[in-house]
């Protein structure tokens, strides 16, 4: 009898235990499954924090070329521009582009820009640091060698040109809709350009130098650009830019001298299915008016000279790329033409009145690797203010260029 109870008792215990462990098993496989999912989730999340994998991009471009004129046959303009972009969060982004350039046999390192952007709202971004000045379209949108379609920047737009390039300051920018009409805008305050008073170098008296640090005065230069898209497909953009501020050094006679820069730009890019091509038209007119001042005369610095310190420059370019053609070779070709001019003040030591026509054929290896072949016809006086022939426009006489640019 006793034994029977014992057996029954043991049987009961066993079935309870085994039931429990069955339940436990089910529960633990559920838990394992859950844990697995959690680990997977964490793994994915941790991936996004790995440097170089997710929120950091190392990009940039390099270019170089060959220039052939009546007098010379030389390799020109080697430059390597690494670009660092770091997305800190969904709102915060840091960008910095450096330029390592070979000029006159020496390597120059410059920081083109280094700034932080914070997305304030759906249509407003705040930026601080060294920025590409949002003046017109060439500098902020087209300056990389893989973007502008020629061997060099247009007249007036290079590092030694008359339009502002980069500067340190604060900026608010963004895009919005006024009804169905799109606009974009940028407002900024930067250190501003600096006027060469001719004390040290009378030949350059009256020239404005951009991107020089530290600032020479307390006054900040303010500016803005507004762009309008008249068509709903964003194919046409018309832009207006202005920039105003003191340019003279403080505690000098030039202290109150100001400069007003203004520009009009346009961009029209349209896929023309009838021609199986993309048509790209762009242009920019820029001018600068500096208040009158008396500068030392270079032959006798005790004599003073003055002149209307107004300069202007413009370019217009057109390109056609049969990007929709059937043939791969034809699809990679692009035909491009550009006209550019530069006028600096009459009566100044750096007076010039130049024009350039660039005609080119480009061959695109991929979306940002290109071989450019172009012919340049130059006209007009070129002197002191002329730019280096190595990628910033301004070579005198006619020239052939073979250039390559790679974006990576």
């Amino acid at each position: 009898m006793k034994n029977r109870y014992l057996v029954f008792f043991l049987f009961l215990m066993f079935s309870l235990v085994s039931q429990k462990s069955d339940a436990q098993e089910v529960q633990s496989t559920d838990e394992i499954q859950k844990l697995k999912q959690e680990i997977e989730h964490l793994k994915n999340e941790s991936e996004t924090y790995k440097p170089g994998k997710s929120n950091f991009l190392l990009r940039g471009y390099a270019h170089s070329g060959l220039q052939i004129t009546d007098e010379e046959f030389s390799f020109v303009g080697g430059s390597f521009n690494p670009l660092f972009i770091y997305k800190q969060s969904d709102r915060l982004l840091f960008e910095s582009e450096w330029e390592l350039e070979l000029t006159g046999g020496e390597v120059e390192l410059a920081i083109e820009y280094a700034n932080m952007s914070y997305l304030l709202s759906k249509n407003l971004t705040f930026r601080a640091g060294k920025i590409l000045v949002p003046f017109g379209i060439f500098v902020p949108n087209l300056h990389p060698a893989w973007i502008h379609k020629f061997s060099a920047a247009p007249l007036g737009a290079g590092h030694d040109g008359i339009i502002p390039t980069n500067d340190i300051g604060l900026e608010l920018r963004g895009g919005s809709y006024l009804g169905d009409f799109k606009v974009n805008y940028s407002f900024y305050a930067v250190n501003g350009s600096q006027l060469n008073d001719g004390e040290e170098n009378p030949e350059e008296a009256g020239i404005l130098h951009h991107a020089i640090f530290p600032d020479n005065n307390k006054g900040k230069t303010i500016g803005s650009r507004i762009g309008f898209f008249p068509f709903s497909d964003s194919s046409l953009e018309l832009g207006f830019s202005g920039m105003y501020g003191k340019v003279g050094a403080k505690e000098t006679e030039m202290e109150d001298i100001t400069a007003l820069h203004y520009a009009f730009d346009f961009s029209y890019v349209k896929t023309l299915s009838s021609l199986s091509s993309v048509l790209d038209l762009k242009g920019q007119f820029s001018a600068v008016n500096v208040d009158d001042a008396n500068y030392p005369f270079h032959e006798n610095p005790d004599d003073l000279i003055t002149f209307d310190n107004n300069s202007s420059t413009w370019f217009a370019q057109a390109s056609l790329r049969p990007a929709l053609a059937e043939n791969n070779f034809v699809r990679s070709l692009e035909f491009a033409g550009r006209y550019s001019t530069l006028k600096t003040p009459e009566g100044s030591e750096w007076e010039t009145d130049q024009t350039q026509i660039d005609l080119g054929i480009n061959y695109w290896i991929d979306w940002r690797t290109v071989f450019k072949m172009s012919y340049r016809i130059s006209n007009g006086a070129a002197d002191e203010h002329d730019e280096e022939p190595d990628g910033h426009g301004g070579a005198e006489g006619n020239a052939f260029f073979f250039h390559w640019a790679i974006g990576f």
Binding site: S54, N123, R173, G175, I222, S224, A323
Partner: protein, 89 residues
């Protein structure tokens, strides 16, 4: 005298910021556009348009944010373009 243009400019600037930041980040027409269409219209305005296969999802997140700022895209535009690039790569 010299201060007057600066004051006018600053004033216009403030008014513009006030008007613009109250503007909408989209319109009925823009809302109807797909990510693919916005990509086709916007990404070739300055340079050749990169194809979706050019980058991984993570790299697109960074590049599109970079371009949102550079090209002054609104948030809804950038979100749609990024989504398109990430599904088509």
């Amino acid at each position: 005298m010299k201060k007057i243009p600066i004051i006018i400019f600053l004033f216009t600037l403030l008014v513009m910021i006030a008007i613009i930041s109250s503007c909408r980040s989209t319109s009925s027409l823009a809302e109807a556009k797909s990510g693919a269409q916005l990509w086709g219209e916007n990404c070739l305005r300055c340079h050749n348009s990169p194809s979706p296969e050019s980058f991984s999802d993570e790299a697109w997140d960074v590049a599109v944010m970079h371009m949102r700022i550079r090209a002054n895209l609104t948030e809804p535009e950038a979100v749609k373009i990024a989504k398109f690039l990430k599904t088509a790569n």
